[in-house]
């Protein structure tokens, strides 16, 4: 797939789910793989894949426990397997199947959590997913990737097929997403990317919050505060080397995620940072550990301070209190 300005723009318009489907359509050409869904082929942008490669596609119906078990069985016979359904059903309904088949037995599959975070807020918290990174992080051997935009969804999906371990690919955001990357770049699982490298505040963000953090950094810049912005696309294994480096030259670390502040990016950073001598304090920005009234995506983000303006304000307040 050609990564250029035009395609990046197109992918951002169709959103991460459809971009994942397009990427699979390409990967299906040359790879002996299987894509499994749980009555979610359309939601995963896989309708064309299903039509083009019927022998590589399987719908298990609305049965996520069976989804993971079947995926593991296929994988045990050497087949590269992707599963795709909405975040909560991909990670929690079948959590123990993931533990036993993927964690314990180490069968390699790539599990794609669609529309994770709170983009489906109008459908209620049954369809939102603010717990997935936390839950999957606790199961040994699973790499967790949360792409910053649709271009990175392409890069991460392509990388997943070559990756040795199982992957949980967490897709966030809706259609018409902002573009972080409009040309090709080096994407390496486990290596965070510095998007700007100036200042004594380090904003480490993942998923949809990467672009928001870039905007927040601009606002801070206007107020005379400089912040680095890091795209931490891989939550597990977390890039310890980078956290170490940032801790040495920052007065404040900030983590920003469209996920519960318990167990996600912030926790992963803090887990490692707590082992360092003289590390700076950390500001956790994310969704609180509560299920309140849900609603429009933008309203939820705004209510919980996950807009560029509010992120910058929260950082400014903390920074000034140091």
């Amino acid at each position: 797939m050609i990564i250029d300005e035009k395609n990046s723009k197109m992918w951002s318009m169709i959103g991460s789910r459809a971009t994942f489907g397009l990427t699979m359509l390409e990967l299906g050409k040359e790879n002996d793989l299987m894509v499994l869904t749980a009555d979610t082929s359309t939601s995963a942008g896989l309708d064309r894949f299903k039509k083009t490669y019927p022998e590589k596609f399987l719908d298990v119906g609305i049965a996520e426990q069976n989804l993971i078990g079947i995926a593991a069985g296929l994988s045990s016979e050497g087949i590269e397997v992707f599963t795709a359904t909405f975040g909560p059903f991909q990670t929690m309904r079948c959590c123990e199947q993931i533990k036993v088949n993927v964690g314990y037995m180490k069968h390699k599959i790539c599990m794609v959590g669609l529309a994770s975070g709170v983009v489906l807020g109008t459908l209620g918290y049954t369809h939102c997913c603010i717990e997935d990174m936390s839950i999957i992080r606790s199961i040994p051997g699973i790499t967790i990737i949360s792409p910053a935009d649709c271009t990175e969804t392409v890069k991460a999906t392509q990388a997943a097929i070559k990756h040795k371990n199982s992957i949980y690919l967490r897709l966030t955001g809706g259609m018409n997403q902002p573009v972080v990357y409009n040309k090709d770049y080096n994407f390496e699982i486990g290596k965070g990317i510095k998007l700007s490298d100036k200042g004594d505040i380090s904003i480490i963000a993942t998923g949809t919050m990467v672009h928001k953090s870039m905007e927040a950094a601009k606002i801070l810049e206007g107020k005379g505060m400089s912040a680095k912005v890091i795209n931490m696309h891989t939550i597990k294994p977390i890039d310890e080397k980078l956290i170490d480096e940032l801790s040495k030259d920052s007065k404040l670390l900030v983590t920003v995620e469209e996920h519960s502040v318990i167990g996600g990016l912030g926790s992963a950073v803090a887990d490692f940072k707590s082992t360092l001598n003289n590390a700076p304090p950390q500001l956790f920005i994310g969704l609180p550990n509560e299920y309140k009234k849900s609603g429009e995506y933008s309203d939820i983000l705004d209510n919980y301070g996950l807009t560029a303006e509010k992120i910058s304000q929260t950082i400014e307040n903390k920074y000034k209190s140091l």
Binding site: E55, L58, G69, L74, S76, E96, Q97
Partner: protein, 279 residues
Amino acid sequence: MSEKKNHIKDIKIMTKRMRKNILDMSLSAGAESSHFGGGLSIVEITATLFGSIMNYDPKNPEWEDRDRFILSKGHGVLGYYTALHEIGLISKNDLMEFEKSNSYLLGHPVMNRKKGIEFSNGSLGMGLSVGIGVALAAKKQKKNFKIYVLIGDGECNEGSVWEAAMSAPNFGLNNITAIIDKNNLQQTGTNKEIMSVENIAKKWESFNWDVIELDGHDIEKLHETFSNKRNSSKPLAIIANTIKGKGFSFSENNNDWHHKVMSKSQYELALQELEKNDN
């Protein structure tokens, strides 16, 4: 004696050796105790499969065309490890290390293909889905091996069994056989007391499986059923009526022996009974 009868007799002798090893393992496990009853109910099934029906190469346990066996009721290991011992994959010494600190033979199977243990099991209700994945792979790769999944009747309380049961006929998987070990008991009581599976044969039938009900201790019947060439496009469910704790007077149909420490005197008594049954 016909060759077939001879063969059945060999499997029968195999079950006797397996029961002897089960006693030795249970005694050796000591305070760790073992899932005695549910291991004994499946002995004739595993002996028939490993002793006669399944294709495998003990010299090359990972042979890609081997038939696959999945012990979905993972606590039935006593009836599994002893069968793998019979085909030369697990040594007697290793059997005697069962549930000891550094043993690879734990109270539930831990995947170890070199020893013939296909998958890790223990959490109930997961084996059939994995078997379906393997069966799909076999079809996709145009392989003729078969997949046998042994499920407990209590295990059928798990909803995930039925997710899997619903899907196999939908995928036209006639290369997979589910064997339901219907011993009518589960951990803390009878099926009826805890969660009745009622007419389980009808349930599998209504999920569009071919269903055969038989006596799960009748080796001849098991052998005949497993050997029959099938022309069906459906998967096969065998409802095997069994006795939990089969083989010993104190354990048969006695749910105290679901998971229990064996005393030396019980061991001696069991040995005597095993000898007596030698006919």
